[in-house]
């Protein structure tokens, strides 16, 4: 796997890393669904969810700083959230001389809390699972082969594209090309079609070689290697605890 692949994967040894991918995908999906359906005014429930994720992060040995840095992907939507109290309609409150919309404030909190929890859960999944395992997990969760096939080739071709782009850039440099920013853009625009074709033809050869060696839409893997019940039980702790908090919040209010 090339350098571009392992962006979000943290190679560690931990109980979470050892779990089968399909188990983790199911747990993250259930967790996120529960978070999203939780009413936004149940403030302490969101605190509980955050604690659960923190426990998972500690068990998975994912550093908090690493998570925080990757979570900045969410920033554009947080900016939208900041605008909401000012732009929202309905009842308004005064705070530090600013007139804020109550609905907008709740909306901002809603986006911030649910968005952040979702991003953190996905990041934990990505940090503890390699790309290949994720596709294998989707395959075991009965995801149609067309998808896993496209995804497999996509990940493979990302490397081919990056490599060919690098080769073409070196070829340009070798011919006395001056790579300053704006010129870089022009060369990129001119060569994007050529890059596509070169990558395709390289990929086509790889594909035909795979087909002639018996590839029929799925990479070979051990059919019997299903996740044991114990792993499902271990992973189920997260959604069950989340559900418990949501239930307690619903009953308490």
């Amino acid at each position: 796997m090339g350098a571009g692949h392992a962006v979000l994967h943290l190679d560690r040894v931990s109980p979470v890393h050892r779990l089968a991918p399909e188990v983790k995908i199911a747990a993250v999906l259930l967790f996120t669904i529960i978070v999203v359906v939780t009413p936004r005014t149940e403030f302490w429930a969101f605190g509980g969810y955050a604690v659960l994720l923190a426990v998972v992060a500690v068990v998975a040995r994912v550093p908090a700083l690493w998570l925080a840095r990757r979570a900045t992907i969410e920033l554009p939507f947080v900016l939208l959230a900041v605008a909401l109290p000012f732009a929202g309609q309905g009842e308004r409150v005064d705070w530090l001389g600013l007139s804020l919309s109550v609905d907008g404030l709740h909306g901002a909190w809603n986006i911030f809390a649910k968005g952040t929890l979702g991003v953190l859960a996905s990041l934990l999944l990505a940090a503890t699972t390699t790309m290949r395992d994720l596709i294998l997990g989707l395959d075991r969760l009965r995801c149609p082969t067309v998808f896993t096939q496209i995804a497999t080739f996509m990940l493979r071709y990302l490397d081919v594209l990056a490599d060919d782009a690098r080769r073409m850039r070196i070829a340009r440099l070798a011919r006395g090309y001056d790579p300053r920013f704006l010129w870089q853009v022009k060369a990129f625009a001119v060569s994007v079609g050529a890059l596509f074709l070169r990558a395709y033809e390289r990929g086509e050869r790889v594909y035909l070689a795979m087909v002639s060696r018996g590839y029929a839409g799925r990479l070979p893997h051990d059919e019997a290697a299903r996740a044991p019940v114990g792993q499902w039980m271990a992973a189920a702790v997260l959604p069950i605890a989340t559900g418990g908090i949501a239930l307690a919040a619903a009953l308490g209010s």
């Binding site: 992907i73 920033l75 996905s122 994720l134 989707l138 395709y200």
Partner: protein
């Protein structure tokens, strides 16, 4: 990879509406999977993977259009021209699913919304335009480039308006819809121009060198008649 791309996150649109769109997306994709089975031959399978990788790569290019508002290319039209509507929709959805699972871009529960906008609405609009325009424009590299450009601009704007519709149905806060709609349309018209240029150059090169790879030109291909009688 410190990109600031973000699809619809969890909690922007409420649960019931997200669920409805998730069901809609699953149903539409199941239909695409059935249709795609006939299309996916030894030429299209690697092409679909490459188109997906290409879309993945261009979706990382972010245009800072307005302060705080950035958008990125969608690639739906490119996919439609090169691999057809069914496989094209699947390519874009695969990109969205992988981005959601691996790069935490876009909420897991908002996946149905994101797929509806970008993979279904965007590619459908792109496909209808491509099919229509290719009837009137010349079916060569230049005509195909013009088609790709126009269809890209329209499909990106249509996809952005999908978000407005979803927000109108299940937005978690009150925002004035004309304002949201106008801002998004303006931003995405600019993005569409960037996307159109990339799609047009790519498609034109492919059409010039390997016209056999362009799905949109398949229908117009003349079958080669072998063994016609030559009258001496």
């Amino acid at each position: 990879m410190e990109t600031t791309a973000m699809h619809i996150a969890n909690g922007i649109v409420d649960g019931p509406v997200s669920a409805v769109f998730a069901v809609l997306a699953v149903a539409a994709l199941a239909f695409c999977v059935r249709k795609a089975r006939n299309d996916l031959d030894e030429r299209l399978a690697p092409m679909a993977g490459l188109v997906a990788a290409f879309i993945f790569a261009v979706q990382m290019l972010n245009f800072q259009v307005l302060p705080g508002v950035s958008g990125h290319l969608l690639g739906g039209t490119l996919a439609v021209i090169l691999v057809g509507p069914w496989v094209g929709a699947l390519c874009v959805s695969t990109v969205l699913i992988v981005q959601c699972l691996l790069f935490a871009d876009g909420g897991l529960t908002a996946l149905g919304l994101n797929i509806t906008n970008m993979a279904l609405l965007g590619t459908a609009a792109g496909y209808l335009l491509v099919a229509g325009l290719l009837r009137v424009l010349p079916r060569n590299a230049r005509g195909l480039a013009a088609t790709a450009f126009i269809a890209s601009v329209v499909s990106v704007v249509v996809a952005s308006q999908g978000f407005v519709l979803e927000y109108a149905l299940g937005g978690t806060t009150e925002l004035s819809l004309p304002w949201v709609s106008g801002t998004l349309a303006g931003v995405h018209a600019l993005i569409g121009i960037g996307e159109g240029l990339i799609a047009a150059t790519t498609v034109a090169t492919v059409a010039r060198v390997r016209p056999d790879l362009v799905y949109a030109l398949r229908r117009f291909r003349q079958p080669i008649v072998v063994g016609t009688k030559v009258n001496a």
